[in-house]
């Protein structure tokens, strides 16, 4: 009797809160699999739109940073978690987007950001070419080389990038509305972020994503079952670079001044950290990872503030230690990242109070 009751409860729970069994591709592709999920989705969207009214300026600035970082992280997610390719040159793509956007700023900001994404995507295809012949380790080294070359170009191509002094941007405008601060820019970020997120979710749960997963899990057997590896890998690189380019363009409009230092290897590593901490191959993971990594410096700032200013000089060092340690801890202890952690907590409650 108790068993029957618990089973019914469990069943009911999973149908409303967390559907695990998906019978059709249609269910698999749905953005939210349960009625409650759909409600959540709509509430979240409304909340996102109203956010600048609810938050004071500085937290809002951090939220904009998180949103932009999520777009970039999502791009890397599609590449690393989706197609299983590795890139140490993600910051270079952000840079391409940012410098493009810096030339089409002000009233043309939205066009500039979009164009930056497209340009980054095109270069992503070129840079994806090594992935056709090499993989794993060698690919990581190739993208590392690209990161250094991009750094060289950003610093030395003064006519376009302004050299080490970088470039400054006027406040973005969209449809005649000026966006001088983070509150206003938020809507431009949302304009790009929402479609990009839905598109990524759709990509991962539809044919393209399934092809990528096949390549990730075993490229040889993927090839044998008829996956066009060249296409799968190149689209992964192109789309990932496109997302990075968009994020870079938005970042340029938020900072209003960019220098080559904004796009060095450290930032590529930060994006990888977002992917690892967030968890492989899901859209939620990108957001969780980006939130986590962007918040670390903020939390450290608060701690440094609490302990007193004598700790301020070692702030950068501590940030590095925390980033690195997080990557290592998650890799060793929780390879599925925050998403995996969340999944385990959810599974625990799914069968609670009778786990067997």
């Amino acid at each position: 009797m108790l068993f029957r009751l618990s089973q019914t409860l469990t069943d009911r729970y999973s149908r409303t809160f967390a559907r695990t069994v998906r019978a059709t591709y249609r269910q698999d592709e749905a953005y939210a699999s349960t009625p409650l999920g759909r409600l959540w989705l709509w509430t979240a969207l409304v909340l996102l739109v109203m956010l600048p009214l609810l938050l004071p300026p500085y937290p809002m600035y951090v939220v904009v940073l998180i949103a932009i970082a999520s777009i970039g992280a999502l791009g890397l997610h599609l590449l690393v978690g989706g197609a299983g390719q590795i890139s140490l040159g993600h910051a270079a793509f952000l840079g391409i987007g940012a410098y493009t956007a810096s030339h089409l700023a002000g009233p043309l900001a939205a066009v500039g950001i979009l164009l930056g994404g497209v340009l980054a995507g095109l270069i992503g295809i070129v840079l994806g070419l090594p992935s056709l012949r090499i993989k794993g380790t060698y690919l990581a080294i190739a993208t590392l080389a690209l990161q250094f070359l991009a750094d060289y170009v950003f610093k030395r191509w003064e006519a376009v990038t302004g050299g080490i002094r970088g470039r400054t941007l006027p406040p973005a405008e969209f449809l005649g509305i000026s966006m001088p601060n983070a509150d206003a820019l938020w809507y431009l970020v949302l304009l790009f972020a929402i479609p990009l997120f839905f598109y990524a979710k759709r990509l991962l749960s539809s044919r393209a994503g399934r092809l990528w997963y096949a390549v990730r899990d075993n490229d040889l057997s993927a090839r044998l079952s008829g996956v066009d590896l060249t296409r799968a890998k190149l689209t992964a690189f192109a789309i990932s670079a496109f997302y990075a380019g968009i994020a870079g363009g938005l970042l340029a409009n938020l900072y209003k001044s960019i220098t080559p230092d904004n796009f060095v290897l450290t930032f590529s590593i930060q994006y990888l950290a977002m992917v690892i901490v967030g968890g492989a191959g899901t859209v939620l993971g990108a957001v969780l990872g980006a939130t986590f990594i962007v918040l670390i410096p903020e939390v450290l700032n608060a701690i440094v503030g609490a302990f007193g200013p004598q700790f301020a000089p070692s702030f950068a060092a501590w940030r590095n230690v925390v980033f690195g340690a997080l990557i290592l801890l998650f890799l060793i202890l929780e390879p599925l990242g925050l998403v995996g952690l969340w999944g385990r907590i959810r599974d625990y409650f799914r069968t609670w109070p009778l786990p067997y």
């Binding site: 090594p130 990581a140 250094f148 450290t266 690195g324």
Partner: protein, 296 residues
């Protein structure tokens, strides 16, 4: 172009190149034994250079060569601990995970080094001993002599040890096939630990000699990253390739500093990575590597 300076550039290049070769040797040994690419090699150089600095200044105040001798076992221990703590737990996971772990080490070690030694540029106490040799217009500074002698000497010693010593044979056996080595009673995990320690010690040696002119500081990391162009050019799993490619890239960089830097500032740092991309596209296994790369 002033060709009269060419021999001077060649000597400078060979001395840097010999040190590149030395560092890459350690890197290649790790790759052969564990298939792990150590992206934190630049930090190994950094830690090594700083360890020597620690023994070089108060309270130890050892002269530079002695400080190096004392620091090498410490660096060995450091490499061994890194393997124990962060690489071994990931054994058997896919390549991407292990690469990421070494990238995590990059950030961690950067931060720790900064906390321990500070972010500012340090200077070694005293110079490397030796008198400069003057041959006509050619000047062999003590520093280039040290680079060439230590770099090539230690590299040859290491190759000889790998070939003839008991431990060398065991390390090669583990690199060849870990399973077979285990079946023959070789303590494979211990060998892997030794290889990582060796790699860290070689990186420390190369790091301190490369940094002897400027003193230890965070620019050493960039020098450590030269390992990648060298290893890719020579072939990731080739010991002689590491030595030859190291010398070659050292000379290329010296020539580019001498002849190209005037018209194209910064090009010297970019050239090695252009070489990486070209090699990976045209001949991914490098000049001397085994063509074992899987292509799908």
């Amino acid at each position: 172009m002033d060709l009269s300076l060419l021999p001077q550039f060649l000597i400078t290049g060979l001395s840097t190149g010999a040190l590149y070769a030395l560092i890459t040797l350690g890197f290649v040994l790790v790759y052969r034994a564990t298939s792990v690419v150590n992206f934190a090699i630049g930090e190994f150089l950094l830690v090594g250079a700083y360890l020597v600095y620690t023994f070089n200044v108060a309270p130890f105040n050892l002269p530079l060569p002695l400080a190096m001798l004392v620091a090498l076992p410490v660096a060995f221990l450091f490499g061994w601990l890194i393997e124990r703590g962060f690489v071994r737990p990931l054994l058997g996971r896919n390549v991407v995970a292990v690469i990421m772990a070494t990238i995590g080490l990059v950030a961690t070690l950067d931060g720790v080094a900064q906390l321990v030694w500070g972010a500012d540029q340090k200077a070694y106490n005293g110079e490397l001993p030796g008198q400069p040799i003057v041959l006509g217009s050619l000047v062999l500074t003590a520093r280039s002599m040290w680079g060439i002698v230590v770099g090539i000497g230690v590299a040859l010693l290491l190759i000889a040890l790998l070939r003839y010593s008991r431990y060398g044979v065991m390390i090669r056996a583990v690199s060849e096939s870990e399973t077979a080595a285990l079946a023959l009673g070789i303590n494979a995990p211990r060998m892997v630990g030794i290889v990582w320690g060796l790699s860290a010690a070689l990186a420390a040696l190369g790091g301190v000699l490369l940094a002897s002119a400027s003193g230890p500081g965070f620019h050493v990391i960039a020098l450590g990253l030269m390992v990648f162009p060298v290893a890719i050019l020579g072939g990731m799993d080739s010991v002689p390739g590491a030595v030859i490619a190291g010398l070659a890239l050292g000379v290329v960089q010296a020539l580019s500093t001498g002849y190209l830097e005037g018209s194209l500032p910064g090009i010297t740092e970019a050239i090695p990575f252009v070489i990486v991309l070209l090699v990976l596209l045209l001949r991914p296994y490098g000049l001397f590597g085994q063509s074992r790369i899987e292509r799908v």
